[in-house]
Symmetry: D3
Subunit: 252 residues, 6 copies
């Protein structure tokens, strides 16, 4: 039996507080068990230099942990003077995942920046960030779509993410920190509302894994993500109806 | 009349949530109006190199703003690769202020690091950080005092801080962002429970100020800080009794 | 039909030149089509600070591209003053993959550093780096095992890597740059000699992918990696016999 | 009795050498006791990006110490790769203070940069820098006013600065290094020719201070600064007459 | 007798492989004994900011060593976050030397960047880089001259470089690493096809040298460089005829 | 005729002010025409890590220009966050030159750091720095030799430096900035009291030079440096007698 009597295929409770920040165009405070992330979305009326003049928008993400988000204090990356490889890897992942469900043509020459700041970490901070970032982004894009009367709603599908892993011989859904540190295999899955995969990152540094284990983990992840997307739909309310309505799946 | 019908000598409501973080040795979430800061205290069993072998402890602070704590998004200092002068100035101020009410000898060769992360900014983030940092630090030091059975309680007095300023011809207590940006003079005051000053920083970049204005601002600040210290005492509960009990005021 | 008349499941020719560098403890110059990487292995008689005193070794990797490895010149990371996120991500991946087939206990308190310098890039530089790094590392560890008469040969299994992807509706093995830039889905697979997976990283930024596509890609990757490992065994000669001989798969 | 038989309210001798540098638009070599600072003013026909197109100018300052300005050698900030918090704090203070007596509108879209390089340090380097910077700036602005026939002389008032402190139970004016390191309280005051305050920074890290002590320190500072401004007037000669002549105190 | 039975005035064998890189506008792989450098030339249709609008071109160089080019592994400059003084010194030297034989006016507003990456180092990496860089540059400029039908061929003369030194009492040509580390005096000479000097850098850190020694070293260097230029002419083939043909020696 | 009616082989007037700095172990303010450099020597009772435990000392130098040492203001290297290549090149040169006349064995495990800060630049800042640095170093080492009663005086010979060049068809000694910017060839020579060379750096970026020109420049440099060393001897007074007295020329 897992901590808190969770079943192997049972996620931790997820709590979503919408728009906790009074300045951001969209924001959410997402709690998955004891992992807590503040996601804020900012819309800027410009694109990075390499995209100028193409009539298309851009979505990017930044990720950071507060120094005491973890059991022992981490040095600030601002004090170190540079980002760690881990941070870079995670923020590239979040940005890539979000862009896969945004019609950048429909967005116009604008950038949506999602900031994911981990207030407390207990495993799964990158998957929780993606799940929260999607909500903050959707709220911000909805505001934008209304303000500029966009012809096509730029969000083409839902998006959420969860981790799965192998601990001992058991396949587990949504690992917390303690489970994660004992896991032989660790896999992060990002999936859309249509049930298609956007990112799969499986790592067996401690012990390589077989095709069977992989298939089992994929199934757990699918179950978990479907449940999360249902919760996203609830809190997004009327915005949920617009997602994918325009030209879902058709990206330019 | 000020925004929200405040009187000139009226502070914004202050809300203190104690120990929101499950890992830190002490933490507080402090809200002063729409300014919201998470303060966490970490105790490390070592001191910086320049203090080694003296048998005394150290207290230091770090300060940062989340990118969307403000109306327009700020670039992360970690992405810029260095701290701004403003950040450095503020964290030096917080550290200095806290050390003024800690008996470093009684602390022993340990470092208390206070992280002040501004979640939302609406004026007064540095004074709010000091007021919150004092609480987080006191909780952490109390835990330490119990664990190591310290002979003298190392916190020698209360400490809080508020900003005052001159807007038009009026002296105002606890300026929010809108008032602050119209102020001709801006002063931050840090005071102890005994009513003595630890830091006074007055700036008249827009318009130099007179001795009379200065005296008026000092009085407003004293009133505000006394009220804040009363609230600190409330949330600290039994810890409050220990502060200054040992050898208050006598620093080594 | 693919460029150079390759079939969908056909790899590019791989050429391995062993020990081109006269100083390194092990080195290989690996050419996969027009992608060319110099891999050198260095053995240092110490471990990083976080591993000291545990009696275990460490394997790590660094990756870089020469400025004119690509069609247009890239700015040097040394001139930029920092590593890009892409570089960090890749070198973390290479290190993790290599460690999965090394018995760190058997290695003793030593570090093996693998440098992968891309001389020319035509797609698949990270997978080619892993395949080459494994050879350079094995040669270096063999030298070490002989010199120190190690009881257990620390390399526990073979390791190679290849990329697979979806271009149009076709699943392709070992994409070159031109194919990679048209691919909707791109997956890098790292597999051991036993046919188990160490890393799977699939990205569908341009278009999410289904379970079926994923399974198809996995099969292509398995075929490609088996062929590559056969070539590794050839060039490693007598060293090949020692790999996994000791206590293959049993990591401490 | 103080070192060199100074009285408590007696400043150290101040020596001003005007225009020691043959390239700068204005410069002064200021010696206050053994504290020696070279101040040079540079005029650039542009403003920082954030001020472009507003028809207003800007005044900014940089501060540094030569490595052997102090008893033990300090590492160069260029070798460290970044400015210390202390340096940032000081150069922000100098810039702010200078801007308070400049009519930025009258200056036009130009920047005056004051470089304060401490050749030898014996306490009071920041206050000495401000006092010297004012002279270098005034000379440069005078040259500018003549060259461009400015309608209003942009310098609106005099400006000088001194430190005061509490050593033992005595209030002292213009502390040297030895006194400063024994001081319980240390206050830097910047005042205009009209006797108004531009900056007050009082710090009681070693021991909080009372309103009475503060008032006493303010009086000493006023006395000291009045004397310094008299000396500034002397060396500025005919330029002195223009300061504040236009629309003194009226800033736009 | 020297290592490998070389005479005092005998160079190491030099091997030149032309155009090993499929992307660069010109490239050469130069081997001088065990010193091996890859030189690639890139042409960009722009000049650095300080040269804009003058109708003249620019030639610049970058130099780096792979981490395991040397007996013990060197930390990457990208990982250190900055270039060493040695690297800066060398790349400034290479750029200066190359520009001395290029008619920047005839080149037009373009930049030629030469990257010299040391794959293996055994003494003389900077002189070998210059000799190789000249070839890569000439090939790239020839391509440019044909494409844009330049009126004057911009390369005005040949250029090669060699090191000479004093080991014991003997003057030696083309020192390898072992000889270099025993040398009392070390001199790098860069000379043109006309036999004129472009750079002379002699260093007697271990022991100052006399005019006679200097003259002897100069003669050795001249002999060596003449031989190297003959080899350059061979591999450049028809391009060799164009060098200096236009207005050799006349720079604008 | 040159500026200020100087003859081709005439140096600018050189003025030496000994020990202007009250903290440094040795210092000199050297003025060569309008080029002015403050040189301070610091003795530290430790050596850099790579020299520990060898019983030998180290001499190193740092070089910087104040921002307004030049006609237009230069950005501080501390603000840029890194040293320029020019600065690194110069400080490596100064250090190397000084070490050539110091018996590091006789110095013991100590480091002498010479800081050369250019207060005003009018050509020849690096040669002026070397000439001044030698004086500051000799004073500091003399103090050290007395304090620790060193058996052998560690300074083995005099050292000075001057620049020579070709302007038009004329060979000139000691170029000022205006001459230097018109020079076709520029050579810096460092020579000992015995008339031997320590460094020769000749650059003909604008126009290659012949053996004859080189010989002519060498003769001018010798004349200039002999005169400078005579002036060094004067200001060093009794210290001058000790230089080279011990075991002149014999380095360990």
């Amino acid at each position: 039996m897992r901590i808190n009597e969770r079943l192997a295929d049972q996620r931790r409770p997820m709590n979503l507080t919408v728009n906790p920040n009074k300045y951001a165009e969209g924001s959410v405070y997402i709690e998955v068990g004891d992992t807590k992330v503040l996601c804020t979305a900012t819309v800027e009326e410009k694109v990075p230099p390499f995209m100028k003049g193409q009539g298309r928008g851009w979505v990017t993400a930044e990720y950071a942990m507060l120094p005491r988000a973890t059991q022992t204090r981490n040095q600030r990356e601002s004090a170190r003077g540079k980002l760690t490889g881990r941070t870079m890897e995670i923020q590239r992942l979040i940005g890539r995942a979000l862009r896969s469900v945004v019609n950048l043509q429909a967005l116009g020459e604008r950038t949506v920046i999602i900031d994911c700041d981990v207030v407390q970490a207990d495993g799964g901070t990158r998957t929780t960030s993606i799940t929260g970032a999607f909500i903050a982004m959707s709220i911000a894009i909805n505001k934008l779509a209304q303000k500029h009367n966009l012809a096509v709603f730029p969000v083409t599908d839902y998006l959420a993410s969860v981790s799965v892993g192998v601990v001992g011989n058991e396949l587990l859904l949504d690992l917390n920190y303690e489970e994660d540190s004992k896991a032989k295999v660790d896999m992060n899955v990002v999936m859309t509302g249509e049930g298609k995969f956007v990112e799969i990152q499986g790592t067996g540094e401690e012990s390589p894994f077989s095709r069977e284990e992989m298939n089992g983990m994929m199934e757990l992840a699918e179950k978990g993500i479907r449940e999360m997307i249902a919760q996203q739909q609830e809190v997004l309310g009327p915005i949920a109806l617009k997602i994918g309505s325009g030209q879902a799946g058709k990206k330019v």
